[in-house]
């Protein structure tokens, strides 16, 4: 990111600087050339002013001492007076420079195309003005005189070159400064992110519960840190639940495996003991049934939690579904009376198998944990697009149980020993997930010494 930012900045800067440099250079060059032109104009006028045409002839009152620029070699100016192509006068420095000086002129009509002049064979550019003097005074003959004034533009060119070099140096310095400043800015600006990165790198599942705190308080990063902390809290909670679930699964598996292991070891060590052998076989059967149930329940719960449980919506009268499930449970356990108070013959659209599973789990739970006199009561109700199935059973400690908030936790059972081979402690957890999948919810309440579980969903 740093490199990209840097490249973008540098590209923009170079383009800007080049553009500005070009404009400035062009302006500077024009200015210098204009100055040179003006200077030459002035000199042309001055030279022309030295001409006097009187009846005795043309007089040219040139004083080299007064105009040193026409004598020097450094930063010189040149002039020539020509008439009809013949050079009448020329500046002293032209004479000093000697043969080889040639004004490269293309003469045509009265205009001269100035190409330059050669100085000792080296072509030099120059600025040359033509002053054509054509005086028309009645007492004088008109003359046709060309005054050529030239100024060496080497100085101008040197100035331009110095200017351009200066621009390049300035550009390089600016680029270096920009790189330095940008790098430092990015480094400084990103240091809270680097600190955050270092802290995140050191995180593991054990430290998920610790809040991230940065040494530097940066307003822009604060929301990110808050979001990360919230994410880690959720991750820790999920990790703790998973760890608890894993521990619970291990515990659930260990006891039946211990039973099986001990029974089979004894049957192996004392093969003559028929009772031990029979007990081992019986235990093996029971344990395998329990394991199958447990594994099936775990898989079902996992699929429900992942949202992978296949759902198939069908329409069914709610009461018919409830009556069917209640009859099934009654056949399996006739110990506790189950009363039906169904008032919802309406058709509902639901996954019949999953809703039946949820209701069955509630009923099995009620049968297992009903305590005290009274029947288990199943009620139904529909209205305003919503349906309700409630299962209640006598249970004096219902309020305290509900307040623990663990009823839907996998493997939670009424007794901490998780005694009993008849259920795995996953019934309510599965029920809760089923209802979430159906777009409904599972609710608990305590009413007059009774534990009430409700399945609520839209029809």
């Amino acid at each position: 990111m740093k490199l990209r930012l840097l490249l973008a900045l540098l590209s923009a800067l170079v383009l800007l600087f080049l553009g500005a440099g070009l404009i400035l250079g062009h302006w500077f060059e024009e200015r210098l050339e204009t100055e040179l032109d003006e200077r030459i104009d002035a000199r042309s006028s001055a030279i022309a002013g030295l001409l006097e045409n009187d009846p005795e002839g043309l007089e040219f009152d040139f004083n080299p001492a007064a105009m040193p620029e026409y004598t020097r070699i450094v930063d010189p100016s040149f002039f020539e007076l020509r008439r009809d192509g013949e050079v009448l006068h020329r500046s002293p420095n032209l004479d000093r420079l000697g043969a080889g000086l040639d004004l490269l002129l293309e003469e045509g009509d009265d205009d001269f195309e100035v190409a330059g002049f050669a100085l000792r064979g080296q072509r030099r550019d120059l600025e040359l003005h033509q002053v054509q003097r054509d005086e028309d005074e009645p007492e004088m003959e008109p003359i046709d005189l060309v005054v050529l004034v030239a100024s060496d533009r080497a100085a101008l060119d040197r100035s331009l070159a110095r200017f351009r070099r200066g621009l390049i140096v300035a550009l390089l310095v600016l680029v270096a400064l920009v790189v330095l400043v940008t790098t430092l800015s990015i480094r400084f600006g990103l240091s809270p992110l680097r600190e955050l990165n270092d802290k995140l790198r050191d995180l593991d599942h054990e430290s998920l519960g610790q809040e991230l705190e940065l040494r530097q308080e940066v307003t822009e990063i604060r929301p990110l840190v808050a979001t990360l902390n919230e994410l880690f809290r959720r991750l820790k909670s999920a990790y703790d639940r998973e760890r608890e679930m894993t521990g619970n699964v291990a515990h659930e598996l260990r006891t039946p495996i211990a039973e099986l292991k001990l029974a089979t070891e004894l049957a192996r060590d004392w093969p003559e003991d028929v009772e031990l052998r029979d007990a081992a076989l019986s235990t093996a059967t029971q344990v395998s049934v329990r394991m199958e149930r447990l594994v099936g329940a775990l898989l079902r719960l996992a699929r429900l939690e992942e949202g992978r449980a296949p759902m198939r919506l069908e329409t069914v009268p709610l009461d018919d579904l409830v009556v069917r499930v209640v009859d099934e449970v009654r056949r399996q356990d006739q110990g506790r009376e189950i009363e039906l108070a169904v008032h919802a013959p309406d058709l509902i659209a639901t996954d019949i198998e999953l809703l039946s599973l949820a209701l069955r789990n509630l009923l099995v739970n009620a049968v297992a944990h009903a305590s005290g006199p009274g029947a288990i009561v199943v009620e139904t109700e529909t209205g305003a697009g919503q349906a309700l199935i409630s299962v209640s059973n006598p249970f004096p400690g219902a309020a305290a149980l509900i307040s623990e908030g663990k009823l839907e936790v996998a493997f939670w059972r009424g007794d901490a020993a998780r005694s009993g081979d008849d259920h795995e402690g996953l019934g309510l957890a599965i029920c809760s997930q089923v209802m979430k999948g159906l777009g409904g919810e599972l609710r608990f309440s305590a009413v007059a010494g009774r534990f009430v579980a409700e399945l609520r969903f839209s029809t």
């Binding site: 006891t255 211990a258 292991k261 001990l262 004894l266 007990a279 235990t283 007794d415 005694s419």
Partner: protein, 226 residues
């Protein structure tokens, strides 16, 4: 030796009673905490095998209650919880040993033997008194290097006497340690068992080893090897 097993799993209860019974232990059973605690307080057990997770009163509560009443009976805790915290908690509550389910029966027996040896102050697995040698690990008895074949109950009886070699042990005490609550012995069970034991030891050349002190009890001749 008399053991109390407090375990809510019916299968484990049956297996433990059967397996340990075959090894000569008298085993009493309790399927939940409060009845187990009652038994532990009333009967003289040599060791208690206690499941940690019990309905109602859990194993640690029972243990704490036992220790608070001054009981020093060795307790071996059985549990499916294997975390360090759980083990530490169990040992700090007063357990003498901690065995994780599932476990091998042989390991359970070895731990029971170790706890019982510790209880009687034994340092070695072989008890020697005179020419009588009892290998508690192999559960074998020899007299003057001749093998003595004993049944489980006979072995337990001899071991009980040998561990308190030289002491006169009342019959009632022998009954308490050799028979469980559900196997209450007939009034002559101990004399018959002593008689059978004497006969088998005599076959190997060990006569006059067990003495009867009328009205007081029984005593195994000799001093334990130090």
């Amino acid at each position: 030796m008399r053991l109390l097993v407090i375990e809510d799993s019916k299968s484990l209860r049956f297996s433990l009673e059967r397996g340990l019974g075959r090894l000569g232990y008298a085993v009493d059973l309790a399927e939940e905490g409060s009845s187990g605690l009652k038994l532990a307080n009333c009967e003289p057990y040599d060791l208690i095998i206690l499941d940690r997770m019990l309905p109602g009163m859990d194993g640690l509560e029972i243990l704490t209650e036992l220790r608070s009443r001054g009981s020093i009976v060795p307790v071996l805790l059985l549990t499916a919880r294997d975390s360090v915290d759980d083990r530490v908690e169990g040992l700090q509550a007063g357990a003498d040993d901690y065995l994780i389910k599932p476990f091998a029966f042989t390991e359970l027996c070895a731990r029971i033997d170790a706890l019982l040896r510790r209880r009687t102050g034994e340092l070695r697995t072989v008890i020697r008194t005179g020419r009588l040698e009892i290998d508690t690990r192999a559960r074998q008895v020899q007299y003057a290097s001749r093998r003595v074949e004993l049944r489980a109950r006979e072995y337990s009886l001899l071991l009980f006497l040998a561990r308190r070699c030289g002491e006169i042990i009342p019959r009632i005490e022998i009954e308490d340690h050799l028979y469980g609550r559900d196997n209450f012995p007939m009034s002559n069970a101990v004399p018959v068992a002593i008689s059978t034991l004497r006969a088998k030891l005599a076959e190997a050349g060990g006569t006059e080893l067990i003495h009867t002190h009328r009205g007081l009890g029984y005593r195994l001749e000799g001093e334990p090897e130090s």
